[in-house]
Symmetry: C2
């Protein structure tokens, strides 16, 4: 079936996502995943702590990449460009060869409230990582928090659009467009004169 | 001790928070809370589903209030004023007589990672309620999502500042100042010309 032989981690990931979609997340076992991948349970546990980590293990690497991109950007880079750099650091996770995995992952999470909660918590962690990295660059507290929320919102929106079944646009292009859109919304919101207290 | 006799719900809330702070959230039982309040366990369960709801039961009423304030604002109200209306709808929860409860609640949540996760999830629900109410008014998708995040960030920041041990400023004044600050940050972020793709 496969045109190439992916590495064990990716074979396990593909097997797990296929089973999650076919039989549901709850009903899928680690033994079943290993079996489908033609590997052993102990190989599974060399790559993942449990079946949930198949869905969320990448999030920590993603957060590290976001933080690193912001920290290593040239001095004086504007916040919006720091966010762009962070979003682009995620591009290797969202190549065209992973589009079907992204789509399946979203389907699985949408069907399970515990997984949705986990996703929300991972997003909150991502916001904390971005805000920390911005603070380290001297961004004032409130600006860092706002930019972090904008960054996470941009990432979530870009990821969702990229993973749409009929999407063929590359992730970096989507991320750039979403960030520009959010920047425009921020400008609109910021331009509104609030009514006096 | 008390200068007035609060209603049973508030007596239970005060007893629970005092015990959570003194003995820790995990070590506190519903029986202990009822006992401290001079009430029965069955009275407790008439007001709260479990001890966690003492900390989070108000969040749903808060979310309802936010949604209601946005839905019932006059047509043509700017998003930033809708957010201000939502934040002010929370004012009855944050009167000066509840300052010590707010402070204790934050102490308890800060000491327990499961409670921190619950707080993050409640905040995500609050964002969803705000975004839904804005969409109902015809706010476009991305603008609604951004404004919702700004609203939740404003609320979280205002609540934290209000609950600071030495704070004496009333919540509405704090909320107004925080929202103005975030609006200025949004304007800054929105004004940054992103580098070309």
């Amino acid at each position: 079936m496969a045109r190439w032989e992916p590495n064990p981690r990716e074979r396990l990931e593909r097997a797990a996502l296929a089973l999650f979609v076919e039989h549901g997340y709850e009903a899928t076992t680690v033994a079943g995943i290993a079996d489908r991948a033609g590997l052993t349970k102990s190989t599974f546990f060399r790559h993942f702590a449990d079946k949930r980590e198949v869905l969320f293990g990448g999030q920590d690497a993603l957060a590290d990449g976001f933080g690193e991109a912001i920290r290593t950007a040239p001095p004086g880079t504007a916040s919006v460009d720091l966010l762009a750099a962070a979003l682009l650091a995620a591009a290797p996770f969202f190549g065209p060869e992973r589009h079907d995995l992204g789509r399946q992952r979203r389907t699985v999470i949408a069907a399970n409230s515990e997984l949705q909660e986990r996703e929300l918590l991972k997003r909150a962690r991502l916001a904390a990582v971005i805000a920390d990295a911005l603070r380290e660059r001297g961004t004032p507290e409130t600006a860092a928090r706002l930019a972090a929320e904008v960054g996470v919102l941009a990432f979530g929106t870009a990821y969702a659009r990229w993973a749409e079944p009929d999407n063929r646009q590359p992730y970096p292009q989507i991320a750039h467009a979403v960030l520009a859109e959010l920047r425009a919304c921020a400008a609109d919101l910021g331009a509104q004169a609030p009514a006096p207290a």
